[in-house]
């Protein structure tokens, strides 16, 4: 075995209390960062889930729309203007708005986000339907909700009745995994039902989902749409996603808070590791002075300290990842699950290595100034 590794490894494991303190610092830091970034990623994905599932080439949105959930109304005339543009295949209205859900057995009302689209392929339909069918939304008062919200909405089974804004609703389809990033459940309805629940006039909508004809030039169509429409914007799905993310993640401060906590975790972890590595190095100062006295280059000593830091990083990261995976499993069905992607794992590993390397700087500063004459002191 490489002697640098042997020395670094044994120096670390020789003082187990200090090693445990180091590893706890790393684990604490990485778990905190994972939770914050995992929630951030999850949040980032969930805020655009409706946009992701709408079959749109372009979105026509009211001017100054900041997110999918918050918008004013477009007029029916704007839809006709859009339909008159060459190359436009379809312009499907979409209605979105908050409403009050009254449970079948009474009790307090709970807010819901109603999403209404016509029952055809171009609209935003519920997905992952596990009971009932999308077509059942056309039945009188038919709505679809996610199974995970049964308890919150007071529903025990399909076909149960409730009220939305004092109008009848009946659960005719059940989905799985369509979760809101807030505590407000989504309720899918047909366009007409949604307009009725939300008090939206018959010819108006919050959004128009535009499909471009297969042989049309999308850029040209977009420019013509933008020119034809006043008081509305034409966005690509990516632009609408970006705008929605910016609003929820940064304009509301939610994302900044998550990132802030992650940065805090990194700082705290770095300080803990730096402190323990520094004190370990101070304790082994005579050994490092001996290395210097017998002629070792500074580079050699730096390798020993960096190897100690890297071993700490690998041990700490391994434990942290085990905890992280448990947390991911535990929050899988939560409103805001912790998301762990391969990219995040790789990033966290790199972060751990970098954090420990930075933490080693203080220790390295000590040994680079070491005077080999120290070996003569008693």
């Amino acid at each position: 075995m490489n002697l640098i590794f042997t020395l670094a490894f044994r120096n670390l494991f020789h003082d187990r209390v200090r090693l445990i303190a180091t590893v706890i610092g790393i684990v604490f830091s990485i778990v905190l960062v994972t939770v914050q970034l995992g929630v951030f990623l999850s949040f980032e994905r969930m805020v655009t889930t409706m946009i992701d599932h709408a079959p749109a080439d372009f979105w026509i949105v009211p001017s100054e729309t900041r997110s999918f959930e918050e918008s004013s109304l477009l007029s029916g005339r704007q839809r006709l203007q859009a339909l008159s543009v060459d190359g436009v295949s379809s312009v499907t209205p979409l209605v979105v708005g908050y409403a009050s859900w009254r449970k079948p057995n009474g009790g307090a009302s709970t807010p819901v986000l109603v999403v209404g689209a016509p029952a055809n392929a171009a609209g935003l339909q519920p997905w992952n339907v596990v009971e009932g069918a999308v077509d059942d939304l056309s039945t009188p008062d038919g709505v679809a909700i996610d199974r995970s919200y049964f308890e919150q909405l007071g529903i025990a089974q399909i076909r149960q009745r409730a009220e939305i804004n004092n109008q009848k609703a009946r659960v005719m389809a059940v989905t799985s995994g369509i979760r809101s990033f807030t505590t407000t459940p989504h309720v899918f309805a047909s366009l007409d039902h949604a307009r009725s629940y939300l008090g939206v006039p018959p010819n108006r909508a919050n959004y128009y989902v535009v499909r471009v004809a297969p042989n049309a030039n999308a850029t040209v169509v977009r420019n013509q749409l933008a020119g034809a429409l006043s008081d509305a914007e034409v966005l690509t799905p990516d632009e609408f996603r970006h705008r929605t993310r910016i609003f929820w993640l940064f304009d509301t401060g939610a994302g900044a808070a998550l990132l802030g906590s992650a940065i805090l975790g990194i700082i705290v972890g770095t300080i803990i590791v730096a402190q323990t590595l520094y004190s370990s190095t101070k304790d082994h100062l005579k050994e490092f002075a001996t290395l210097r006295a017998i002629g070792s280059a500074r580079k050699y000593i730096l390798k020993v300290i960096l190897t100690q830091a890297l071993i700490s990083a690998v041990v700490g990261f391994s434990i942290a990842v085990s905890i992280d995976l448990s947390l991911v499993k535990m929050t899988r069905d939560a409103a805001l699950p912790i998301l762990m992607t391969p990219e995040l794992s790789a990033g966290l590993f790199t972060l751990t290595i970098v954090m420990c390397a930075i933490a080693a700087v203080a220790a390295i500063r000590v040994v680079t100034r070491i005077d080999p004459v120290l070996v003569f002191a008693q």
Partner: protein, 243 residues
Amino acid sequence: MTQTMIEANEIRMALGEGAGRVEALKGINLSLAGGELTLLMGPSGSGKTTLLSVLGCMLSPTSGSVNIRGRAVTGLDAEALAQVRRENIGFVFQSYHLFPTLTAAENVRLSLDVRGHRCLDARAKAKEALATVGLGHKAGAFPRALSGGEQQRVAVARAIVGNPSLLLADEPTAALDSENGQAVMTVLAELAKDPSRAMFIVTHDPRIVPFADRILRIEDGRIVDDQRSGANVRTLRPLKYAS
């Protein structure tokens, strides 16, 4: 004909600053030849350790020059001095300075490792060096399992494994009892016979005088006495160690 391994000319060394400035060495001239065991003796504060540090390329003198095997080493930066040490000098310290987490063999191998020798050959050389000091059978022992004398012999093995032309020892027997002191000195005296190596020992310990070929006395930063034994005293029984 013996070869001069190290030569120091007009070495002056000032330590401290301002009112606390002390001239620790005041014009030392010295050369050490291969195959000789030289002792440096003197009272505390006379400049022994400072001279050892200068000859060992750990301190650069305020003025004067040091040549090791004909190469001037004065004025080199810290990294260059470290390179001179690893290529030319072996050290034995009073407190051994073994790494407690490494075995005896690993401690010895460390001296080769810092030189970049990391092949299997390094393991063999480390075992050979341990055998030279009579500890071949303790290669796998950690320092805590060794007596003081054995630890010092491991330190000697570490010092010689790189085959340095200069072996410097700082009070190598001070922490040892008579028996262990004698064992260590016997090993050092044997190693000092090698004409390709000069040995320089700083000591307070009068018991090791009989092992010396040459004895220097230092007082107040100056060498005041330089005696060579007429006979080869290393062949004499070291009476002072006798119980």
